[in-house]
Amino acid sequence: MAHEETVYDALTNAHDDAGHWAFGTGFDEPLAGVDTTVPDGVDPAALGEYCLMLGDDALVLAQRLTQWVTAAPELEEEVAIANVALDLLGQARLLLARAGSVGVLGRSRDRATASIPDEDALAYFRDPDEFRHTALVEAPNGDFAQTMIRLLAASTVRLAVFARLRGSRDPVLAAIAAKGVNELAYHRDHAARWVLRLGDGTPESHRRAQAGADAVWPLLAETFAATDLELRLTEAGIAVDPSEVRDEVVGVLTEVLERATLRVPAWPADAPPRGRLGEHGPELAELLGTLQGLARQHPAATW
């Protein structure tokens, strides 16, 4: 018992004597002790912006998936969705912490008190126009079939990007990607098996899966469009040009839908990047209201 109390004290007082900030995702700095030196010739601000792009994709999708908790069709699936969301949240923490380590904090530091860690300041105290995710992860879940189609699409894209990012010249990004690949392979295959079951299931599940695919496909329009920043960082050996993963993504999604007896919807024409530049739909404000509301109402709360 005494030991447990000591551990509790150590956790709650890990950062300062004023207690631990109440809304943090963890008790520790996820990059503690990791060498965060920026590679030669790389603009730290650009690297940080790129980390926000990848981190926000994970954070927003994690938040969407978490909306299924207490509402999933079966208990095992609820646990699975929560686990996928937790993996993504972990990836988001690492990436937002990486952005913070190079000083990319946007306007969040104007609102978050000094004791709030960078990753939390970025998650809780940025406004919608400071988020850098794509439309694919932001759209509302729809029904379970649509949720699984979106998870299939989003994890296929992310897995393809992360597989290439393992060779990044930034050792921190490369390490986050190598770890993420192992997790994302489980996410993608889990979603793909659901799409098979639903598409090749009952007439009703087939109808819903088809409607889900038809709803998700247009969201892929900006997925393969690179921003200037991504192109510059790809040139520098840091980032992955998303247009490079198009063939792989199209191949995987086509294979799964065909095996699921679903019609592959028309691929949308490439649209210029919007989400990566901070342009989002009204749904984001609602999502962030849930994610950030409590922390913003009580920004100095500790426990």
């Binding site: 000591t6 150590a10 963890g26 503690a32 972990g90």
Partner: protein
């Protein structure tokens, strides 16, 4: 009474996992290195999964154990690369998992540099029932009470059990 140990590595190796308290962090392969640098004990740990919520507790437990053993200067560092693999779980760790009713992992998939192949069929992994020993078991879900475990059921004794999945 705690035995006073003088080797910081031996002390760190006694620290157990917060979620699997019969296993040590060393058994799990989470403890990567212990060394003394200019009088400071530097401990390196690696997360099992990116979202593992137990890292903070592990860090606090390591600090506590080493402080108790008489090492005032301790630094616990996270290492991200190479990524943790279930192949790093020791033989002792595998035995303790099975004794605790959790099926140990098989061989982790080898990751090459290219695309990760899609796996649409039921997972190929197998696991003997840790309760009755029967090899006749089925997977219920690839995700269980923690991200690192799958949920299986024994077709012989009908008991559900968890399986540390290969990664």
């Amino acid at each position: 009474m705690n035995v006073v140990l003088t080797d910081p590595r031996a002390v760190a190796e006694t620290v157990t996992d917060p979620e699997l308290p019969t296993l040590t962090l060393a058994d799990l392969g989470v403890l990567r290195d212990v060394r003394v640098v200019n009088g400071t004990v530097v401990v390196e740990i690696t997360p099992t999964y990116s979202g593992c919520p137990a890292m903070g507790v592990m860090r606090a437990d390591l600090l506590h154990a080493l402080h108790e053993a008489g090492f005032p200067e301790v630094e616990v560092r996270t290492v991200l690369s190479p990524a943790w693999s279930t192949d790093w779980i020791s033989e002792d760790g595998r035995r303790k998992l099975a004794e605790g009713g959790i099926a140990p992992p098989g061989k982790a998939p080898v990751r090459t540099t290219g695309p990760v192949p899609l796996q649409l069929g039921p997972s190929r992994r197998t696991a003997a029932c840790p309760l009755c020993g029967s090899p006749d078991t089925e997977e219920l879900s690839e995700f269980s009470s923690t991200a690192c475990k799958a949920l299986r059921r024994c077709r012989s004794c009908r008991e559900p059990f968890e399986h540390v999945k290969e990664i």
